[in-house]
C-alpha cells in the first residue's frame, strides 16, 4: 500500500481524489492516517467511553462530506473542524449528563494517586465549563501539543488570537478549579 507522507499536500490530495472515486483502499489509508491524532482530539472533549463512537461519526462525516471539500483550507484543518463540531454536538446533546456533582470532601486525606484521579475529574468538569472555542484551543495545545502556528492554521485564525484565547482558557480553568476545591501546590 502506498504511504502518505506526513502532511504532504500533494500526497493527501491524491489520496482524496482516490477516495472520491470510492477507492476503499484509499479510504482506509486516509482513516488510518488521521485516526490517532483525531482520537486524541476527541478525548479532549468526551470521555473515553464515548470517544470511539464520536470518532466513528467524525470519519463517517468525513467520507460523506468529502465531495464538499473545496481546498480553501488544508484538508487537516477541514477535518479538524469537522471533528470538533462532532465533539461539540455530542457535548451539547449530553450536556445535562456531563456535569458531575461533587460528593466528596475536597479537603481530604486520601493517598496521592486517588487525589490525582480526583484532580483529573475536576479538570474534566472545569473543561466542560469552558466556552467551546476556548476548550478547542486548550485541547489542541495541551492534549495534541500543537504549536500556536499549527493551531492558527487549523482553525484559520491568527497566532495572536491563539495566544489570547489560550491565556483566557487557562485563566477560566483556574477559576473553575479553585471553585471546585482544587488546591494548587505551592
Amino acid at each position: 500500500m502506498e504511504t502518505v507522507a506526513a502532511e504532504n499536500p500533494e500526497a493527501i490530495d491524491h489520496l482524496l481524489q482516490r477516495c472520491l472515486q470510492l477507492d476503499s483502499a484509499a479510504q482506509r489509508q486516509l482513516y488510518e492516517h488521521f485516526h490517532d491524532r483525531c482520537y486524541r482530539l476527541v478525548l479532549g472533549f468526551v470521555s473515553p467511553a464515548d470517544a470511539a463512537d464520536v470518532l466513528q461519526k467524525s470519519f463517517l462525516q468525513l467520507f460523506q462530506k468529502l465531495p464538499q471539500y473545496r481546498g480553501e483550507s488544508s484538508f487537516a484543518s477541514w477535518f479538524y473542524r469537522l471533528t470538533v463540531n462532532e465533539c461539540l454536538q455530542h457535548l451539547r446533546k449530553h450536556r445535562n449528563k456531563q456535569f458531575a456533582t461533587l460528593d466528596y470532601d475536597p479537603v481530604d486525606h486520601t493517598p496521592g494517586h486517588e487525589k490525582m484521579a480526583e484532580h483529573r475529574e475536576l479538570l474534566s468538569i472545569a473543561m466542560d465549563r469552558l466556552e467551546e472555542d476556548l476548550r478547542t484551543i486548550f485541547v489542541m495545545r495541551e492534549v495534541q501539543q500543537h504549536t500556536y502556528a499549527e493551531i492558527a492554521d487549523l482553525l484559520s485564525i491568527n497566532e495572536g488570537t491563539v495566544a489570547s484565547r489560550l491565556s483566557r482558557a487557562r485563566h477560566d480553568l483556574k477559576q473553575s478549579l479553585l471553585e471546585l476545591g482544587w488546591e494548587p501546590r505551592s
Binding site: 472520491l20 472515486q21 470510492l22 476503499s24 479510504q27 482506509r28 482513516y31 488510518e32 485516526h35 490517532d36 482520537y39 486524541r40 478525548l43 479532549g44 473515553p48 470517544a51 470511539a52 470518532l55 466513528q56 470519519f59 463517517l60 467520507f63 460523506q64 465531495p67 464538499q68 484532580h119 483529573r120 475536576l122 479538570l123 486548550f138 495545545r141 495541551e142 492534549v143 501539543q145 504549536t147 500556536y148 497566532e159 495566544a163 489560550l166 491565556s167 487557562r170 480553568l173 483556574k174 478549579l177 494548587p184 501546590r185 505551592s186
Partner: protein
C-alpha cells in the same frame, strides 16, 4: 515589565511561544516577582492535570467497523409511491427527458448502438399519459425502472463514480431530490435541481457508452465547454445532452443556452 504585562505573557511563556526579547524580559521579571511565579506555577500544574488525556492509550484502529457503515444500504424492492409532489412543470420536464433521449438517438451519432424497444414503449406511454395525469405518469416511470429516491452519497457507492451534480451547482441553485432508475441499459441517476426562483430542472447522468433511444424530433448539435452537445427545444425550454469524458448528461428544462453552458462548465470540473 509590570505584573499586568507579565501575567498576559505567562501562558505563551509556558508554551515557549514568546519572542526571545519578551522571553528574556519576562524571565527577569519572574526572578523578582513571587506573585507572577505563583501564577506560572498554576499554569504548569493545570498542564500536568491534562497529562492523562495527553498520554491516554489510543484505541486500536477499527477500519472494518467503519467500512461496514460506509457500505451502501440495499435498495428496497418495493417501488415508491407518491414520490413527487404534484408539480405539472416538473413532471412535464421529466417526461421530456425521455423525449429528448429519443431525440438524441436520432440526431447524434449514437445510432448503430442497440435500441431498447421496451424503453421506447415506456417513454411513449409516459409522454402520452403525462398530459392527462402527471403524478401517475411519474409513478409508472418509477415502477418501470424500480426508481428509488437516493442520496448522492448512496448513489456514488451504487454507481461506483461520483455524480457530477455532487461537485456542486452554480450559486443559488440547490439539489432537491435524486432518484436511481434501473434501466435495461444502465443505472441512471436522475437529479431534480431547483433555481433561486423555485423553478426546477432535471439532470440525468449515466456512464458513457450507453444505448440511445429512437427519436424523430429535430435537434441542434454543437459543442459546449469543449464537449459534444445536442440541444432540443421542448415547449420553450431546452433539453440538453452532453457527452463528457466519463459520462453522459441529459439536462431537462434548462432555461437558456447560458444556463446550460454554466451547468456544463460546473459539471466539467468533476468529469
Amino acid at each position: 515589565m509590570n505584573c499586568n504585562e507579565s501575567k498576559s505573557m505567562l501562558s505563551a511563556y509556558h508554551d515557549q511561544e514568546l519572542s526571545p526579547t519578551n522571553r528574556e524580559q519576562l524571565r527577569e521579571h519572574l526572578e523578582g516577582c513571587a506573585d507572577c511565579r505563583g501564577e506560572l506555577k498554576i499554569i504548569q500544574q493545570i498542564s500536568t492535570l491534562a497529562e492523562p488525556i495527553r498520554t491516554a492509550p489510543i484505541m486500536p484502529v477499527n477500519w472494518s467497523l467503519l467500512a461496514e457503515q460506509l457500505a451502501p444500504a440495499p435498495l428496497s424492492a418495493k417501488p415508491r409511491r407518491h414520490a413527487l409532489a404534484s408539480n405539472r412543470r416538473l413532471l412535464w420536464s421529466i417526461a421530456a427527458v425521455f423525449l429528448v433521449a429519443i431525440i438524441f438517438a436520432v440526431a447524434s451519432n449514437w445510432g448503430g448502438k442497440h435500441e431498447h424497444s421496451e424503453i421506447a414503449n415506456h417513454l411513449q406511454a409516459f409522454s402520452t399519459e403525462f398530459t392527462r395525469n402527471p403524478e401517475h405518469a411519474q409513478q409508472t416511470l418509477l415502477s418501470h425502472y424500480k426508481g428509488q429516491k437516493i442520496t448522492l452519497t448512496e448513489a456514488s457507492l451504487k454507481l461506483n463514480y461520483q455524480p457530477v451534480v455532487a461537485s456542486g451547482l452554480p450559486t443559488g441553485y440547490v439539489i432537491k431530490d435524486s432518484y436511481l432508475l434501473e434501466m435495461p441499459c444502465c443505472l441512471c441517476l436522475q437529479t431534480i435541481c431547483e433555481r433561486p426562483d423555485g423553478s426546477q430542472f432535471v439532470v440525468l447522468e449515466h456512464a458513457k457508452e450507453q444505448s440511445i433511444w429512437p427519436s424523430n424530433l429535430s435537434s441542434v448539435k454543437t459543442e459546449c465547454q469543449g464537449f459534444p452537445t445536442t440541444m432540443t427545444d421542448v415547449d420553450g425550454t431546452l433539453a440538453v445532452t452532453c457527452e463528457m469524458s466519463n459520462r453522459n448528461l441529459t439536462m431537462i428544462a434548462t432555461k437558456s443556452l447560458d444556463e446550460a453552458t454554466s451547468l456544463i462548465g460546473q459539471f466539467a470540473k468533476a468529469d
